[in-house]
Structure formats: C-alpha cells, structure tokens
C-alpha cells in the first residue's frame, strides 16, 4: 500500500496548483461561473494543452499521458480546492468510462481537449450536459454515445458547476462490458472523493487563515479554544480523508480487488467530512461568511453538491455494508 507522494507527484501537484492560482483565482471563478458558458474556455484549453490533464489517465496509444489514478487524484484535489468551473470533472468521468470499456474512437478527441464529453448519471443528470459534444449513457453493460438528444439546463445550488437533464434519444452503442462499467462506477467514486478532499482542504485553510487575522474581544479568534478545538477536529478529518483518498487511488492503480470497498469507503468518509468542514468554515467566519461576496458559501455549496453527486450518501454506506457482507 502506498500513501505518500513521490517527488514526481509532488511536482505535478505543484504545477497544477501554480497554474490554477494564476489562471483561475476565486474572483475569476466567480466571473467565469456567471458568464455565458459558465467557465473560461481559455483556461480549459490551457489545462489540456500546457498541462495535458484531459488525457492524464488516457493510455499513450490514444494520445493520453498514461498516468495513474494516484496522479489523477492529485489533480482533482487541486481543481476541487480551486473550485475550477467548467467541464474538467465531466470529461474526466467520460475518459474513465471509455478507458474501462475499451473505447477507441472518442478517447483521442477527449485527450486532445477538442471533444467535450460527459456521462449521464442516475436520473439522466449530466455535469455540463448542455455544453457537452457527447453524452455517454450507461444502460446495464452497454455504453451509448449521444451527440444530440434533448438537453435541459438545470438550476444548480453550486454556481461553479453546471448540470443538465439529458433526455437520451437514440444513441449509438460504442461498447459493452459489465466489468468495465462496474469498475468505472467505482472509479467515479474515487475521482469525486479526490475533489472532495481538495474542497475540504481549501475550506480548512480558509478558516485557519481567518482565525489568525480576525479579532474579537481584543484577541485573535484562533486563540479561543472554542475555535481552536473545532479547527483541530477539522484537521483530524483532513488527515483521515487524505489517507483514505490516497488509499483508494492506490487501489485503483494497484489493487483491483480492493477497489470497490476502497471507493465506497472514500465516498462515505470524504463526502461527509467535506461537507462538515465546509459548513464549519462558513459558520466560524461569523456574519461575513453568510455574504455573497465571501467565498465560504461557494465551498459549502460545492461540498453539498458533491456529497449527493453520485446519489444519496446512504447509497455508498449500503454498498459498503454489502461489500463487508453485513
């Protein structure tokens, strides 16, 4: 089991973090989120061009970087921490599904960042479903590609990421694999957990920073145990969430037998921990945290949206119970 980062992995994380800090700081996030497209296409282009992230886990034979899930988890942690708007997670889910079911046609375009693809999740909801060129639909073991179809944009709690309801007309079957689809679903859970880890970390960093600046009754609020002990508990959640995400990513790369239970564990733990920390970040900010101008609510809403993205949280615990044969 490998839970610590290699030098190369730390460099990758540093590069992505630096890129997002300069190309998509939070004021940019707000501007892009409220824009026509809901994201900055230039940032998305550079993300895939300079950093080649759209094809990160795509095999080199399909024009990808052939990296592992340990690397993908690091990238999603950073895009989550930065609340990067746009279709990065959507295309990531699509590449995961296509890779697992062994598609040859669509992957190169997605890896190149020229094809914008997404996956229709339960209830026909798809991240960035309105903007996507291709919506992948899962019917049992079959994966269909829908280029047209009826797309109804939805109003989202999380303004930084759009969703649409996709009425899947006739799509062409591009592959069929029971194992591939099952494994893809587990990998979706790992990918979202990695993003949740990033949202959790950024929320904790925000309130830790504020606790060192904000004064009340003549003292910095971080010097009060009422705040300090809450932050210590939040830190414990971060340590555990990071450990679980690293483990799940390792299982995705190295231990296929452990993947399902690791993925369910990751969603069950990280989903809850992320919302709790984002909630407490907002509450501990006091009144300012309730304002639209402050960023706390963006993390709070993303945390809630991510917690239910792959279904009611209860589903992951039920799955865990099954896998544990309880």
């Amino acid at each position: 089991m490998k839970l610590v980062l290699t030098e190369e992995q730390r460099e990758l994380r540093g590069a992505v973090r630096a890129f997002l800090a300069s190309a998509s700081p939070l004021p940019e996030v707000r501007r892009a989120a409220e824009s026509e497209t809901g994201h900055d296409p230039e940032v998305y282009r550079r993300l895939n061009g300079e950093l080649g992230l759209a094809g990160l886990v795509v095999g080199e034979e399909h024009g990808g970087a052939g990296a592992g899930y340990a690397e993908l988890a690091l990238v999603l942690e950073e895009t989550g921490a930065a609340l990067l708007p746009g279709p990065f997670l959507a295309t990531t889910l699509a590449t995961i599904l296509l890779t697992e079911v062994g598609d040859k046609e669509l992957l190169p375009g997605i890896a190149a960042g020229t094809t914008l693809a997404t996956v229709a999740l339960d209830g026909g909801r798809a991240l960035n479903g309105a903007e996507a060129d291709v919506v992948l639909a899962i019917e049992g073991p079959r994966v269909l590609a829908v280029r047209g179809g009826d797309r109804t944009p939805l109003t989202t709690l999380d303004i930084t990421r759009r969703q649409a309801k996709v009425d899947l007309g006739a799509g062409e079957e591009i592959a069929s694999s029971t194992e591939g689809v099952a494994r893809a679903r587990d990998l979706f859970a790992v990918a979202v957990a990695a993003e949740q880890l990033g949202v959790l970390r950024a929320s904790l960093d925000a309130i830790v920073g504020y606790a060192k600046l904000r004064v009340t009754f003549g003292r910095l609020i971080g010097s009060y145990q009422g705040v300090k002990h809450r932050l210590a508990d939040m830190h414990c959640k971060l340590e555990q969430a990071e450990s679980i995400v690293r483990y799940a990513a390792w299982a995705a790369d190295e231990a296929p037998d452990e993947l399902s239970s690791a993925a369910a564990l990751a969603q069950a733990y990280a989903g809850r921990a992320c919302f709790e920390v984002a909630r407490d970040n907002l509450l501990l900010h006091g009144g300012i945290g309730f304002t639209w101008e402050h960023d706390a609510h963006l993390y709070y809403k993303r945390a809630k949206a991510d917690e239910v993205l792959l279904g009611p949280p209860r589903a992951h615990r039920t799955r865990l119970a099954e896998l544990l044969e309880l």
Binding site: L154, T216, R219, L283, G286, G287, K304, P312, A315
Partner: protein, 392 residues
C-alpha cells in the same frame, strides 16, 4: 374587562381584519404601504403597544393582555415584519431611556406604523464584539457629526429612523466611550446599500454614514453611556427572539419532519431511523420552548436560558436542511424551474446560527450566566480603545 373577554374580542378583530393578510419578510414599496395601512387599523383598534404607557400612545394594559393578543395572533399571518425592529427593540428602548420629547415625537407614529425603524449596532469589524465598533460621532456646536459603516441592518431601506450606536471617546475603554443616537435615515450623508447574502438575495443592508449631522436632542441616554443603552436594546431583542424561538416555523417547511415523512423513502429502515432522529430533536426543542414559555407565564423569567433554545434551534435548522438534501440526493442541488426549495433551505440554514449571536457566543452565555462558570481572562476591559487590538 376580563382576560377571556379580551381574548374573544381580539380573536374577533383578527378574524375580521387579518383573514387574507400575509407576511412576506421584507416587502416591496407596495407591500409596505399595505403593511402601514394594516398597522394603522391595528393601532386604532387598540392592539398596538398594548402594554405600553397610555401617555405615549400605548394602551397601558398588562403583559397578560399583550400575551393574550400574541397567542390569538399566532393563528394568523400579520404583515408586521417591517415594524418588528421598531416594536421589539427601538420603541421599548425609547420607552425606557428616551426623553419626554423623544417619546412624544416618536412612539405614537412608531406604534401606528407611520414610521419604520431600524437598529444600527453591528459593523464589519464588530460582530460578536459589538462594543469594538468604530463609527465615530464627533461633537459640533449644535450636535454631532457621524462617520462610519454599519451592517446587517434589516428593513433599513424602508426606515424613517434608526437607533445608532457610535463611539464618542476613543481614550476611554471600549465599553465606556459609546453613545446612542436617534438618526434620521433620510438625512444627507446616509447611504443604504442592500447586502446580498449567500442565498443570492438581500435580506439585510449595509449603511454608510458620511459626515451625517445629528442634532443634540437626538442623544439617547447620557454621552459615553451608550453601552448600557445598547444592553437595554439587546435585552429587548433577546426577549423578542427567544419568545419566538422554535415556535414551529411555517407549516410548509420542506425540510421539517412533517414534510420529509412524505418525501423520504421510509421503507428503508435507516432512512426511517434518521427521521426518528429528526423527530426526537424537533420534539426535544419544541418541548423545551413550551416549558420556557410556561415558566414565563408562571412569572419565572428564562433569562440566559433562552440562549440554549436559540443555540438548539440553530443546530436543528442546520441538521434538518443537511438531512433533507442528503435524503433527496441529486435532485436537491440541480433542479428545473420551481424545484429549488431544498437548495433554498440549505442556503438559508446558516443564518439561524449567525444572526442574533453565533453558536460560540450562545455557549459563552450559557456557561457564564446559566452555569456561572469563571470568565475568560479579558484583555480588552480597561485598555483605552485607541490602544486596543481591533479589526483593521
């Protein structure tokens, strides 16, 4: 007239006058006009300021009649929200501390709904710690000039007057250099800006004071004695909050137990158990509030124990919005036209924990004033304000 008879008449009046009225939070201009008309009828019928002194426009009756009317009114939705700050905080403060001229000028129009009031204490740099406020009032030959910023002011956009807390002596310790004024919200230099909150709407305002002139006779209480005046106001505020606390919220709350029992998949025993947990917490708080109000009627004033009810309501509000969205799953956070009630609830949930004192402040109050635990060492008590560490 005995209480029963009073009650009967009150109910009759409400049935005749408050059948199709509705409360809509902060109304628009049209809503305000309608609300003012309603308050005027209510005043003329003798149901505004029931326990306030008769000489200033009140009815001079007792708390018993006041409570009797409130209980009857609970069955109706009165459009009185815009007057709540004036009736609950500003008015009672003037009754306690105002000059005869101030009372004569302001109380009757306030009770009759002709003039709306707002309260101007909190600042961006002074939230839980109100006494750290930095809005300055400097003396002029015929009064004062005020400069600074206030925040979290509700109904300010409709208000004629505000009760303003300012700093008048920076050489004194923070609590000893404050003064309270009545400020004309239409005076030159007063800017009211809606404050957009995380729900995307503006429930509150920011107020900017830019060399605003205040006549000397608008001082409330003594110069530099503003803190004790503010304590009086906050006491009235806590009363009006805690009396209302947890009194059920609106029946159609989409995240309350009664709604979730119909929308959630209770065939799943784990989901059913989560609703049992919600029921337990809801009943526990409701029964606690009922006990507090029975004690109040029995003449036992709950005092700081009301802070426990406020803390529990804040926690329950967050718990149920979180639970409801988790049970609903993806539909809760991405929806078509009109499907956003759960998203709205989870966006609004933090408000209960942030308004009227944070959860941490409530726990301090319970610890200090209910359990009589020793206080934190205070570093800000006797330092001249100008030497005190405050938010930049």
């Amino acid at each position: 007239m005995n209480l029963q008879e009073y009650r009967r008449r009150a109910r009759a009046w409400l049935e005749a006058n408050a059948q199709d009225t509705e409360a809509e939070g902060t109304p628009d201009a049209g809503g305000v006009a309608a609300a003012k008309a309603f308050m005027a009828r209510m005043y003329d019928a003798g149901y505004s300021g029931i326990s306030w002194p008769g000489e200033w426009g009140g009815q001079g009756l007792t708390q018993a009649e006041e409570r009797a009317f409130a209980e009857e009114a609970a069955g109706f939705t009165l459009p009185t929200y815009v007057f709540s700050i004036g009736l609950g905080m500003c008015g009672p403060t003037l009754v306690d501390l105002g000059t005869p001229e101030q009372k004569a000028r302001h109380l009757r129009p306030l009770l009759r709904g002709e003039e709306i009031w707002c309260q101007l204490f909190s600042e961006p740099g002074a939230g839980s710690d109100v006494a750290a406020l930095q809005t300055r009032a400097t003396p002029t030959e015929d009064g004062w000039t005020v400069t600074g910023q206030k925040v979290w002011t509700s109904v300010a956009q409709h208000a004629s007057y505000g009760l303003l807390l300012t700093r008048t002596d920076v050489d004194a310790p923070k609590h000893k250099g404050l003064s309270m004024f009545i400020v004309d919200m239409r005076a030159p230099g007063v800017t009211v800006r809606p404050l957009r909150d995380m729900t995307g709407r503006a429930h509150f305002n920011e107020i900017f004071f830019d060399d605003v002139h205040i006549p000397a006779e608008n001082l409330v209480g003594q110069v530099n004695d503003g803190w004790s005046c503010a304590v009086t106001t906050l006491l009235h505020e806590r009363l009006s909050i805690s009396s209302g606390v947890g009194m059920g919220g609106r029946r159609d709350n989409p995240v309350a137990f009664e709604a979730l029992r119909h929308t959630a998949d209770t065939a799943d025993p784990v989901v059913a158990d989560q609703l049992v947990e919600l029921h337990i917490r809801s009943r526990a708080l409701a029964l606690f509030n009922e006990r507090l109000s029975q004690e109040t009627k029995a003449g036992v004033f709950p005092g700081a124990r009301g802070s426990a009810a406020k803390l529990l309501l804040a926690e329950l509000t967050m718990f149920q919005a979180d639970l409801a969205t988790s049970l609903a799953g993806p539909e809760a956070v991405a929806y078509e036209e009109g499907g956003g009630r759960l998203a709205e609830a989870v966006s609004l949930a933090p408000a209960m924990a942030l308004g009227g004192g944070t959860n941490e402040i409530m726990r301090n109050i319970i610890g200090d004033r209910v359990l009589n635990l020793p206080p934190e060492p205070r570093v800000d008590k006797n330092v001249p304000f100008k030497d005190l560490k405050v938010n930049g």
